[in-house]
């Protein structure tokens, strides 16, 4: 047991980009596993909500990766890292649960398309998922490194990934929690 720092939308699907909410509010497939395993839940801020707003377009990492957005994420990451630091100093195990495919919250898969921009149209099926971390996750990694704290184990919600399988998502989270 320990503390799971979860992406904001795991507890609040209202923060999702338009057409992105999978349920009314609580994303139970992740929350139920954390509850069943006795993990404490800590909700991280949603980086896109306060910066690009509720009416934002779907975006890939390159579109969000501006100096101003980096500064915004750096501020959020410092707040999250400070909380993680408290937990680590208390000897608690920490994991981070992100959103795979997200330009901000991806933990092993983010989205990338260097050519995307302008009028929001692109060919159906354009590949955008690549290995890597989203922008806020990168900034949390930096903020923890500044504090001399190792980056926690990670798991991700996988709805945006082709072939999403809730059982596989659950197994991945359980594996991360078990360390």
């Amino acid at each position: 047991m320990g503390v799971a720092f979860v992406a904001h939308c795991m507890l609040n699907q209202n923060s999702k980009v338009a057409e992105g909410a999978h349920c009314a509010g609580i994303y139970s497939p992740i929350v139920d596993v954390l509850r069943a395993k006795g993990w404490r839940i800590e909700q991280m801020p949603c980086p896109e909500l306060a910066f690009t707003g509720l009416n934002r377009f779907w975006a890939v990492k390159e579109q969000l990766d501006t100096a101003a957005y980096r500064r915004h994420c750096e501020r959020l990451a410092e707040a999250v890292a400070a909380a993680i630091s408290v937990r680590v100093k208390q000897g608690e195990d920490v994991v981070l649960v992100g959103v795979e495919g997200s330009p901000s919250m991806g933990v092993t898969i983010t989205s990338s398309d260097p050519l995307r921009g302008g009028r929001p149209e692109w060919p159906e099926g354009t590949a955008e998922h690549v290995s890597g971390e989203g922008i806020l996750v990168e900034e949390i990694r930096k903020a923890l490194a500044k504090r001399g704290i190792g980056f926690p184990r990670v798991a991700g919600e996988t709805h945006a990934i082709p072939g999403h399988d809730e059982a596989v998502q659950r197994a991945g989270l359980e594996s991360t929690l078990e360390g």
């Binding site: 209202n14 923060s15 057409e19 009314a24 509010g25 609580i26 929350v31 509850r35 839940i41």
Partner: protein, 121 residues
């Protein structure tokens, strides 16, 4: 905005109701049953220099939701919340410190439909 499964309803929830002690009230479970999202307030055990920035981010996000007519309630209490919300010009929402899950569910179910939900109906 095109519709999806969101409820446009968000409960600001004190940590003791997100991570309840044994036998305590689990507001996340009630929110899941009643279709509310949750914004967690920082745990009381965090020192002010940790809790303050987290509260400021909660307030900034609530400001964006409020601008779009989402509905809010407060479950429990958190020192510093009123000041953080005042910084962004948002009032503290109606609240409850529930004794039972049924009491919380009744409170949530009894809230009026938020303006954002009416706009997309």
């Amino acid at each position: 905005m095109k519709p999806d499964a969101r409820s446009f309803r968000i409960a600001l929830v004190a940590d003791e109701f997100v991570n309840p002690p044994p036998g305590g009230l689990d507001a996340v479970a009630v929110a899941a049953r009643t279709g509310w999202g949750v914004m967690q307030l920082p745990a009381d055990e965090y020192p002010p220099e940790v809790a303050g920035p987290l509260l400021a981010e909660v307030a900034e996000q609530m400001e964006e939701f409020s601008r779009h007519g989402y509905g809010f309630v407060l479950v429990g209490e958190r020192a510093g919340l009123a000041e953080a919300l005042a910084q962004v010009g948002v009032a503290v929402p109606d609240g409850i410190s529930p004794q039972t899950p049924a009491q919380l569910a009744e409170f949530l179910d009894g809230r009026p439909a938020p303006r954002a939900a009416q706009a997309t109906a």
